[in-house]
């Protein structure tokens, strides 16, 4: 199997569109939970026995979520076909198949959470897989980009400041933190676990990102991803605090309050962006890092 591939502008743009629509889907899903609309449509896969029920109240959010999900599913199938027709990288084709399987599983989990009245472990798995699927679409967009296909700009790994293993710590910790957040949202655990996890995960993200900025900044891809990850993580911390404070302030509210919904949904969406950025960064580290060498002082200064 040939591994060389030429840049396909159409496929890359389509991949970006898929990632964008998936982020919209994450936002729509977060709105369903924040608006307490998860059970507003009791049946699945139809809605009130129809393909298109009257879009009112919570039905607007729940059925709207289903419509966007269906669109994303269709887009993923198109991506798969497009990749199989134009992309010669075997692993890329496998990734496209994995993405399709993930979106199918995600749909099944979404249906199960409705039919089984939001059991926390199904709902939390649905929320976590959504984040992973979004990261997959971002990775596909990255792998189809001109920069990726142009080849890496190899930098040797500094033996005193290794990065390859460490770069995995950020996405692993973030994924755990996202699962905790989902479990809090679905009332399986108290918010304290997610709150306690936040400084730990932030510290890991800063540790990895700062190592890149201090020791590998000469590589543009690594530098950009590290700056992006720090920025999005700091936004996420702020949004988390805001979401929690509004939740406390409106604890006695009889219906979801707009400010609480806004901050919580932004927190969920930014969580997806944080995970995707950390995964992209880990991928770029593996792509751009060369053999581990003892770095002379002069090289570090350069």
């Amino acid at each position: 199997m040939a591994t060389e591939n030429s840049f396909n502008r159409g496929l890359h743009r389509w991949s970006i569109l898929l990632a964008f629509c998936t982020l919209l889907l994450v936002v729509a899903g977060a709105l369903v939970t924040s608006k307490d609309a998860g059970l507003s449509v009791p049946d699945w896969p139809l809605s009130y026995g129809k393909l298109m029920p009257k879009m009112e109240g919570g039905i607007f959010y729940e059925h709207g979520h289903r419509m966007i999900a269906t669109t994303v599913g269709m887009f993923t199938i198109v991506s798969l076909i497009w990749i199989f027709r134009t992309d010669r990288r075997n692993w890329m084709r496998k990734l496209a198949v994995a993405a399709l399987l993930a979106v199918i599983l995600q749909g099944v989990l979404g249906g199960m959470t409705v039919l089984y009245l939001l059991p926390w472990w199904i709902s939390s798995s649905h929320a976590t897989l959504a984040q992973l699927f979004f990261s997959t679409t971002v990775a596909i967009a990255l792998f189809t980009s001109k920069g990726w296909l142009g080849g890496p700009a190899i930098v040797p790994e500094d033996a005193e400041n290794p990065l390859r293993g460490l770069s995995l710590a950020a996405p692993i910790c973030l994924l755990g933190q996202l699962f905790l957040g989902a479990a809090v949202r679905h009332k399986a655990i108290g918010a304290i676990y997610h709150i306690c996890g936040a400084p730990l995960v932030t510290a890991v993200v800063l540790w990895v990102s700062m190592r890149i900025l201090l020791h590998y900044a000469r590589n543009r891809e690594l530098r950009t991803s590290a700056i992006l990850l720090i920025s999005v993580t700091l936004c996420q911390v702020f949004l988390g605090i805001a979401a929690y404070m509004t939740r406390i302030a409106y604890a006695d509210a009889i219906q979801p309050m707009p400010l609480m919904v806004t901050f919580t949904v932004l927190h969920v969406a930014t969580g997806a962006l944080t995970l995707a950025t950390s995964i992209a960064m880990a991928i770029l580290v593996r792509r751009n890092l060369g053999e581990r060498v003892e770095m002379p002082e002069s090289a570090l200064e350069a």
């Binding site: 307490d36 998860g38 009130y48 009112e56 009245l117």
Partner: protein, 248 residues
Amino acid sequence: MFLQGCVVLMLSGCGSNPAPQTQTKAALPEAHVDPATAGTISGKILFQGAKPVMPTIDMSSNPSCERQQKTPAKAETVVVNPNGTLRYAYVRIKDGLAPAHWAPPAEPVKLTQSGCIYTPHVVGIMVDQTLSIMNDDPVNHNVHAESQTNAAWNISEAPKDEPKLRKFSSEEILFPMTCSVHPWMRSWIGVSSHPFFAVTGEDGSFSLAGVPPGTYTIEVVQEKLGRKEGKVTLAAGGTAAIDFTYGN
């Protein structure tokens, strides 16, 4: 539908529905009250302190609901009557009755969705009695019984649908009935194994009639203010009074 069927099959064993309690009920003797010795327990549920102000429900995102309200509806979480008593408190005999099976009344208890509000706000019903849920609104509702002891369920009810009929097989006090289409909609259901329960109304009083003589624990449950208990002794053919006071 195939996919749905597969999922249902896969998960058929993972529900949390409690086991049927048919055997327990069958083992109990039928309840019998001698009218000559039965008495009445009555009282009031009082509220002391600053009267809580209930928030106005924002129905602006649901014009069909909003149009049905002459004045903006308010939440009914804590309703203090003009005479300083509490409305929508659920009162029942918690302990003291001899173990027996009490046959539920044949007539159903009604729960109406009207103006995108549940009426009544608190419902008392007996085990195995029929709950008739009606939709008088021009909009779709879902009805979600968030019960823990009884099997939870979630059904849809379109405008002017035939009433949905449901029963509960176990005693459970109280659990919410909610609508996710209109997230402010919330009613509370108290399922009692015997007929000695009441929900306070506009005068905050309750009356449990036809009670056999004995010493009983009376329990009051209010959705936000919590539970209170008190003991009362009822003489044969007599009356007994007990009041409860909540406050902030």
